[in-house]
């Protein structure tokens, strides 16, 4: 039979090739590099310095440590989130530019395509976050090799989850404009309400319905757990005040174990959902 003579693709090799494509494309689009690295740094500098006065006044920071330090883990996750978003927006571009067609009619399984996209997005996201992490030395955060590696590992898992989420959302969309709406309504709030920006009110300290809602949303937000774990690891040996005023009982921060568990679960579930979505034929598959 002729079919036996045909070469068979390896799904993993195909995914690796698609992943490499993501990285090559990224490196060839300079504005993407500048945007992805520049924006979080600007955010961090502006908010960090701008809000440190407020932060100090409210006593959340404890001692003299500034908001720039509190805000550091949040910025790390922001970089991961932004890059993951841009990486998955590219699925819409792939669709509109026609590249996706040839992947869809090829014999590779759909999960291989998703894996390529997610891995590519993850490498880009974590790569940039690690560059930013090097900055930590300049703001007085000292990390041991163990801490550095632990943060790296959590960022990788978080990036897999967020890229898969992005893929799952972007798969059904025909325009990048549509994705921007989702980004503003879902992804940015996910980040803002993760404890990156301000700590999560503890149950005992809730005084209003608004706070109660906020606390629930933040507790249900998967990004909260990645952030909590990173924040705890980052400040394990420094002032406990950076754990978001937990010591005073006003705020809540998930533990490392819980944080890692939820982050892993989130990644697994989102990846499965993305693969499931990619299996279905949809109108935008043909142009």
């Amino acid at each position: 039979m002729t079919s036996e003579a045909m070469p068979h693709p390896s799904p993993v090799a195909a995914a690796m090739s698609l992943c490499r494509r993501e990285i090559v494309r990224f490196l060839r689009q300079r504005n993407r590099i500048i945007g992805a690295i520049g924006q979080p740094i600007i955010f961090w500098l502006l908010f960090g310095t701008g809000l440190s006065g407020v932060f100090k006044a409210s006593g959340q920071g404890g001692g003299d440590e500034s908001f720039t330090v509190y805000f550091f883990p949040g910025t790390l996750l922001l970089i991961v989130l932004f890059t993951a978003i841009f990486a998955t927006i590219s699925i819409i571009e792939d669709r509109n530019e026609g590249f996706l067609q040839s992947v869809l009619v090829s014999p590779i399984p759909r999960w291989s395509m998703v894996l390529g996209k997610v891995l590519g997005g993850t490498i880009l996201a974590v790569g940039q976050a690690m560059l930013f992490l090097l900055l930590s030395f300049f703001v007085g955060i000292t990390l041991s090799v163990g801490q550095f590696l632990a943060i790296f590992a959590i960022l990788v898992v978080a990036a897999v989850g967020l890229t898969s989420l992005g893929f799952w959302l972007a798969w059904r969309m025909d325009s990048t404009q549509g994705f921007h709406a989702v980004m503003n309504l879902l992804l940015m709030p996910m980040w803002l309400l993760s404890g990156a920006f301000f700590p999560i009110p503890a149950n005992d300290a809730i005084t209003s319905t608004g706070q109660w809602v906020l606390s629930w949303v933040m507790t249900l937000n998967p990004v909260t757990y990645a952030l909590g774990a990173i924040r705890r690891i980052m400040h394990a040996e420094t002032a406990p005040s950076f754990l978001g005023g937990e010591a005073t009982g006003d705020y809540w921060l998930p533990g490392v174990g819980l944080g890692v568990t939820i982050t892993v679960l989130f990644a697994v579930v989102m990846f499965a959902l993305a693969c499931q979505a990619a299996k279905k034929t949809r109108r935008g598959d043909w142009i």
């Binding site: 079919s3 070469p7 698609l18 090559v24």
Partner: protein
Amino acid sequence: MISPRAVSIENVSHRYGKRQALDQVSLAIDPGEIFVFLGPNGGGKSTLFRLLSTLMSLQQGEISILGHGVRSHKQQVRQQLGVVFQMPSLDKKLTVLENIYQQAALYGVTGQTLHDRTELLLSKLELADRRHDIVEDLSGGLRRRVELAKGMLHSPKVLLLDEPSTGLDPAARQAMWRYLEFLRSDQGVTVVLTSHLLEEAEKADRIAILDQGKLVALDTPDALKESIGGDTITIRTRQPQGLIERLQTELNLAATEVSEFVRLETEDGPGTIRAIMQVASDQVDAITLAKPSLEDVFIHMTGRQFTEEVKP
């Protein structure tokens, strides 16, 4: 064992919502054929292409490629098919070679085979010195050749092309056809393409004419032209309906109006023209005589001119 048909289509119908895009289409394509699906825009050929390429799922009927059903053996079908899309499928940010390697990974072409296939295709399609160019910087004709190289990389037995001539100048179009004919004669590849260009369809071994989702004709170009026989006379006139009535009453000729021209088929072209000029020269602005073309076949089958838009 009987070798399976290259492509077999049985009772395939397809709807987009209320619109019937394909209506009970059945036909078979033999291995080694160059086969053209010809039809005006909206005729159903793009829908058929999407179904054949497995981009879209079958609603009704059966399609099999080299004996593998697209429903039950999607994987095998995809393995056997080379697909060249009308809409470019290249990654514009990558080089020619990177695009080819990407395709290779999707089809499992590796090692020495990949090297040999790449070199063969690049030289055959005259792309060898452009291999490191970013696709963005290539002309439309060159990009189309890279698409062809991509489609043929894994040596498929059936090559499927959607409107491959779109955006090609005549020289590039000829070069493409030379390559398709080479594939067929040298490697026995079955070449299936869609086209809305009549002159392109002339080059096919067989043509299927699709109109409003129906298969209206299926044969070799010559047989199709012979089937309507004789000569075709086309008359330009200011009053088509008046002339048609006059031809009917005075000469007993059955003529039809097609896009403001009066058109009729006849066994004896020159004799008929003389007769028409004797009785109705005052109404004739111009009169032409031609052997039937594929356009005439289409008009004969559908009563409309090929380029005429179908009113929904």
